[in-house]
Amino acid sequence: MKLRWQLWTGGMLALALLASACAPSTATPPPVEETAPPATEPATEPPVAGGIDCMGAQPGDTLTVMYQWSGAEEEKINQIFQPFVEACGVEISAESTRDVAVLDTRVQSAPPDLLFWPTTAPLTLYPDQLLDLTDVGAHQENYAGFWIELGSTEDGRWLAVPVKADIKSIIWYSPAQFDAFGYQVPTTFDELNALVEQMVADNNVPWSMGFESDAATGWTGSDFIQDLLLTQQGPAYVMGLIDGSVPYDDAGVVAAYETYVAWASDPAYTVGGADGTVSTGFLDAIYKVFSDPAEAMMVKQSGFAGGEVLSQYPALEYGVDFDFFPFPGAQGMQGGADYLMAFNNTPAASALVAYLTSPEGAAAWAQTGFDLSPNSNAVGQYTDTQLAKKADALAGASGFTPDLGDSIPAPFGLAEWGAIIDTVQGADIPTALAEVAAAQQEALAK
């Protein structure tokens, strides 16, 4: 009797193990279905597939891509791939991960054909394995000079082409609230300062700031300081910080930190003061400006904030209840971009690269509304008014600076975020920055 019970339990356990071993692994998502347009997306007409060059790819060829997108973002990129997939019959096998360690292991063993990554870090990590994009069929003529430079190594090989961009030097606000209190949108930094003081005098809290973001806590502070640097010092200074020619404890950086810390740690200027800034999540900080009653007047955040506001408060209307203005006085636009890089030069891979860098790809990207496309053919093709305004802001900016946090090596970035958290909580600014300067020197020394 006892033996039968044990046999039964052992048999069940063995079955369970066998079943879990044979079940499809959930670590990597299953290959993308070619014919699965998501039902929730607004119906957009894909552009005519006649202009797509398949570059020798045969129907049934497989193409492995790796990217960080999941959920709604993944649906958008699939929508953008769709015309290409229909024209050439290529099967795209996608792996979605945000973990840089997963990327590292894959590259060391079996690199994906194409990689979409939000930073140019792979250029410094795998310069020998990435291929020059001109050999893979990319249309270099569709991209402005500074985009090519950002994606090239020092020896001039063009390894990364930006496919998606978002602008960051913008401040979100509620036009309804501004009208109610008689505030004007500032156009210079002095006007912004005056506006902040006026808000405090009216007993309104000007800023909503939120750092908290798990392992990346502090990145919103880094963005804000970069915009202050763009205003006070200029884009060349920021590029100097990125490549190490300007030490991080320079007087210019100290001045930017002093301005920022004065705002971020004072409860009259920021919701919750220092404690609020470091413990509020970056999404919660966005919501505070548009909640009812509003807890703050402005939040400086990238373009994605518009989508977040709509998903949290679906009743709000863009242009009436929420809108943005460029950071006043910033000499140039700070932004982030997702880059496309190639590890293997198969016909299918070069066909996709050619498609995305061509006018057809630009049109597909703009009409899908997956943020901005740096492809010059995308201008004027945006169907979403928010995106169109952002594209104008980007086109009208006097220059473009990549997000510092995205462009620097991880140890330097982590040190920077640590310094931001410490200084907002009261640490001495020059001492904290000296440590970051040491990390910067070490990380950028070749």
Partner: protein, 304 residues
């Protein structure tokens, strides 16, 4: 009847029996350890000796340059100090809580219920526990209502909410409470089993001799279960030296809470040499505990 008289085994046969196990251990434990030590003597990409990182304006330990980082860099001394704090504060507190729970639960009728409740956190993954306690410690700035359990309680009594997870110093203690919540059940279960194995006559005799409850506990019970307490303590020491998940999920090492394993994880992609040096350091720190365990095991064997 001696074994050699019953079964004639060659001198090689026992080795053949053990060979598969030796192969597995060699491939999955020995080789990675040796490779890790070798990598810790290399630079950030693993391709050149670590001495290429030496610059003229700083002290340099040559080939052991990564160990110089692991032992003297400011962020590493903070991490080492935090691990020491975990050892000194969290381990005794957890063992003490487990012991108290074991002793007290022993004497009540609803013993099983109490023990199940205290043991249940062990069934939760460390990441899950970190997330749960993130919500418990949550702080809502501004005029919003508090959703964190602790801050909502403070708010209800009229006190100011406390930033549990963003105050250097307090955050460390907050994380240790999570560790205690997770492992007190483990200590309690093992110590309870040891307590129940104590011979009743000894306790009766002590009571007859006029010992109070406290004296009974301190002078009779604890010395008799001291070997078990040692086992539980050494297991907890090893766990605490490797602690990572709780710190990673709740603060990722910010606010002066970073620990060694956290640093190693943050460096693994960008600087292989330093990351492996920290791993070797962790291994060396655990070795004395292992030696202590093996020695005690041998003593117990001899006592039989």
């Amino acid at each position: 009847m001696s074994v050699s008289g019953v079964m004639k085994q060659g001198r090689v046969t026992p080795w053949l029996y053990v060979l598969p196990c030796l192969l597995v251990i060699g491939l999955f434990i020995l080789y990675p350890v040796v490779n890790t030590i070798a990598l810790s003597l290399r630079d950030r990409s693993g391709s050149e000796p670590a001495s290429v990182q030496c610059t003229s304006d700083r002290a340099c330990w040559g080939i052991l340059e990564n160990y110089r980082y692991a032992l003297t860099a400011p962020e590493m001394t903070t991490a080492l100090r935090n691990n020491a704090l975990w050892l000194v504060l969290m381990v005794p507190a957890t063992v003490g809580t487990g012991l108290a729970a074991a002793v007290l639960a022993d004497r009540v009728r609803y013993e099983t219920l109490v023990k199940s409740i205290i043991f249940m956190p062990m069934a939760i993954s460390f990441i899950g526990a970190g997330l749960i306690w993130r919500f418990v410690y949550d702080l809502q700035a501004g005029s919003g209502r508090q959703i964190g359990l602790l801050n909502a309680a403070l708010d209800g009594v009229g006190l100011d909410p406390v930033p549990w997870l963003s105050t250097p110093g307090l955050t460390n203690l907050a994380l240790m409470v999570v560790g205690l919540w997770l492992w007190a059940g483990f200590c309690m279960t093992i110590l309870s089993a040891a307590l129940k194995a104590l011979p009743a006559e000894v306790l009766e005799a002590a009571r007859v001799d006029g010992a109070t409850q406290w004296q009974l506990f301190r002078r009779v019970m604890v010395p008799m279960i001291l070997p078990t307490i040692t086992v539980v303590t050494t297991t907890l020491v090893i766990i605490v030296l490797k602690i990572f998940d709780i710190v990673f999920v709740m603060t990722n090492g910010n606010f002066a809470t970073e620990v060694i394993a956290n640093r190693m994880f943050n460096l693994i992609v960008t600087h292989v040499g330093r990351s492996t040096a920290i791993a070797v350091l962790l291994l060396l720190l655990t070795v004395p505990v292992m030696i202590f365990n093996v020695r005690r095991f041998r003593e117990q064997e001899e006592m039989r």
